[in-house]
Symmetry: C2
Subunit: 277 residues, 2 copies
Amino acid sequence: METVSTNRAFGGTQGVYRHRSETCGCDMTFAVYLPPQAEAGPCPVLWYLSGLTCTHANVMEKGEYRRIAAETGVIIVCPDTSPRGDGIADMDTYDLGQGAGFYVDATEAPWRNHFHMYSYVTRELPALIAEHFPVDMARQGIFGHSMGGHGALTVALKHSDTYRSVSAFAPISNPIAVPWGQKALPAYLGDDQTAWRHYDATALIEDGYKVPEILVDQGDADNFLAEQLDPAAFRSACEKAGVDLTYRMQPGYDHSYYFISTFMADHVAWHAERLAG
Amino acid sequence: METVSTNRAFGGTQGVYRHRSETCGCDMTFAVYLPPQAEAGPCPVLWYLSGLTCTHANVMEKGEYRRIAAETGVIIVCPDTSPRGDGIADMDTYDLGQGAGFYVDATEAPWRNHFHMYSYVTRELPALIAEHFPVDMARQGIFGHSMGGHGALTVALKHSDTYRSVSAFAPISNPIAVPWGQKALPAYLGDDQTAWRHYDATALIEDGYKVPEILVDQGDADNFLAEQLDPAAFRSACEKAGVDLTYRMQPGYDHSYYFISTFMADHVAWHAERLAG
């Protein structure tokens, strides 16, 4: 693992690191914020999964998570959204290929050689983080935005023993039923829709996967709300399954980091409470 | 004036606007954050002047000023750092020309046609802001970073009746004596050093200009500290003149927005206190 940069911030350290990923078969870059408390000993760790077109850098620069992370003593890890580089499959579109890994393990050509973001964020990167940073891996939470909200929800539902808390900003909560998912899921996983259900938060809840509670913030002026993010099926699945979903429709907010940064402190504090002790 | 974008953030609105500047002879872009309190009536206005290479966007995206501006009810205006565009003089260097206006009114060719940032930020833009936004122009403060810290200090010293409060992050406080200034000031103002003194915070204080108090934060791991930002002469001038300078040397911090964002809330709150009532 190589250190790309470190900057002092809010009494802690914002770092960017690069390593050779076996899972993705390429170099991968990620960001880690260590709060001041990490100097004294292991801290809980909160994973942030980013949305379409993003790298680790978008939320690191615009997400405004450091103040509240320093206040609550939480380490925040921000992975990239896909494998990248020459020799990695790509498409001339923002919602498939590089920058759009959808947190799945692809089984279809040409993606199956490198696009293993599910295994990367649930296995390889956690092992690397545990080795190099003062993290208490018994206290992990996960959250994300849009495609990364989808990632956070599906990862948490399938590993409810690993992640104590999960939340999302404007998540794709039912990708099977919306254009983004209907483009990415067959490309990465083939035409058999049973494979898709394993990467759909609504379907996972319908199929019996559970977490005790979920926090979601969604802007009502989000351009993608009606077509890509419609939460009706997800809310209904949570209700039927007894998942305690706090779903906050935020008036006037859009899909941008202006929205995310506004509610970032609420989310980090919510996780910190559940990761305490 | 044309609206480029508006985004809901922290209960208020982050906007970006463009207008034809008579002073600079080109289109200029700037950012304005309106806190929620601006819906009820005029609010104090705080001017943020950016550093070398920046536009209005850097601090808007990375500065983390909206939470505290919303909490304290302060409008924040972020101008660009120079005229820009085809047909505007430029140099193939980061510290002279476009992105490096140094908040002076240039008198020398080729800069004198467009590089009038001093008049732009003290006259033309305030008039435009007063016309279009709910600002209480009797309650103005000013701050900035690096070259923008220089801008804020010199503007406040020369207009102590207009700006009630002034602060800076890692300011160029004595440009006459450092390489950045010794490159920019002769290029923009010619070789007569008496003209330079009018744009040097330390020289202005030595020459009798005053403000009651100044807040400065400076990282001690700032790469530019020794060569470009050395505060000794400025501190000494403040002391001799009875200017109440709070100069905070922050251990481990560099020159980046990670530093600025860490201390942004302190600065905005400090201004808000002085702009209240």
